[in-house]
Symmetry: C2
Subunit: 241 residues, 2 copies
């Protein structure tokens, strides 16, 4: 099956968590809004999102077309894709555990986004910079240690060797965790470098994911959109410490 991913074409954003899974698995997919020509580009994304007859409409991208199915919500897409891409454990209990981790990552992502947009997504950063600075200070001091300390603990408690979050093989949760660390390094280089001193397993996990051949090829390609100041992870030096 050729998957069709619908997401904004100029940012990594939430769509990147899906791209990483598809790329790591070598799956065939079309990144619809990044294509050229008929049925591609942002107009195709918007047309699909606003179809009046869509039975399962999405509130927002990303959403994935897989045969007759249209699935939205990043973690939900990964819940569906994981087993199909060989990026999920077999046992139901372990799949719920992977999903629990994905949802905890999703919570963290909201908090990361809101460091630069604590008042409203519809306002410019410049119009909420004072609040952003206040929120970011506490985010760095309290929330980064809380979340990353938790994920480090998850790695430490996994009884299986290999350094993955769940069981003895890579899952979507590992890829998503990689993306979070990459993003934090970009957005908050000082705070992240300091935190990483106490997070040896997460640092190793990042290396391990980055070294996966198909993912390494993807990360070095033009398909990987660079971080920028429009996505979830934004580098405003005044917010880092």
């Amino acid at each position: 099956m050729i998957f069709q991913l619908y997401y904004w074409p100029t940012i990594q954003g939430r769509g990147e968590f899906v791209r990483l899974a598809l790329e790591d698995a070598g799956a065939e997919y079309v990144d619809v809004a990044r294509g050229k020509g008929r049925g591609s580009g942002v107009p195709a994304l918007l047309a699909q999102m606003n179809r009046a007859d869509a039975p399962h409409p999405a509130l927002a991208p990303p959403f994935l077309k897989a045969g007759d199915m249209m699935i939205a919500q990043t973690a939900n897409i990964l819940l569906y894709l994981g087993p199909k891409l060989g990026l999920a454990p077999r046992a139901t209990a372990d799949r719920l555990w992977v999903h629990q981790l994905e949802l905890t990552i999703a919570d963290f992502i909201v908090e990361i986004h809101d460091t630069h947009h604590p008042i409203a997504s519809s306002l410019y950063y410049e119009d909420q910079a004072a609040e952003a600075r206040r929120r970011s200070t506490i985010f760095i001091d309290e929330r980064i240690p809380k979340f990353l300390g938790y994920f480090e603990r998850v790695l430490r408690r996994n009884p299986r060797r290999g350094g993955w979050m769940v069981g003895a093989r890579a899952s979507t949760a590992d890829l998503s965790m990689f993306q979070v660390i990459e993003g934090l390094r970009y957005a908050f280089p000082k705070a992240t470098a300091r935190s990483e001193r106490d997070l040896p397993r997460l640092v190793e996990l990042r290396e391990r994911v980055a070294a996966r051949p198909r993912l390494a090829a993807y990360l070095g390609s033009k398909r990987r959109i660079p971080f920028n100041d429009s996505g979830i992870f934004r580098h405003y030096p005044e917010l880092d410490h």
Copy 2:
């Protein structure tokens, strides 16, 4: 099976979405932190959360013990419970659709919470009241219509009669939607009343859920913790308009 729910005993919070499903189904469960005696109360909640040997630790309540499994993240718990409680559709595609709605509700819940805590959960409301007012104004004007308009559309597009969100029977998504509307009515009475004029199907859904016999009994019982100013939904008159 007797489920054990671990959640804070004095607020509805995220635990309430799980309680509603368990109560509606007439499931046997223990609300651990609300019990008295050994192995109960907040100490039991904290002890379970901080167990050094827990293989699947939770970052935060709620979490559910079901036999040997320990499951956290509200939407993940409902994903697990739905089929067991007769509150999920049969087809995989429909279950993913219910879950997509639960995750969209979860996103909304974060935004609702952050109206009164836009800077940090660890600060008092009084220490971020100015920012809260700014965030709430935009939340009311932009986000309530966006989210509730979406859910109204979901109800309108369901080809099956009955007034439920997915298919012809109630699912956890309907119960969660009920809770959101109840909470918004409590927190933002003026804004919610105004919004509801354009949301006839959501208003009907709320009535339909509230009238389910086991749920009606629960809502009239002492087990239903009243809304208060410590939960997700808080009524600060200065934030409503």
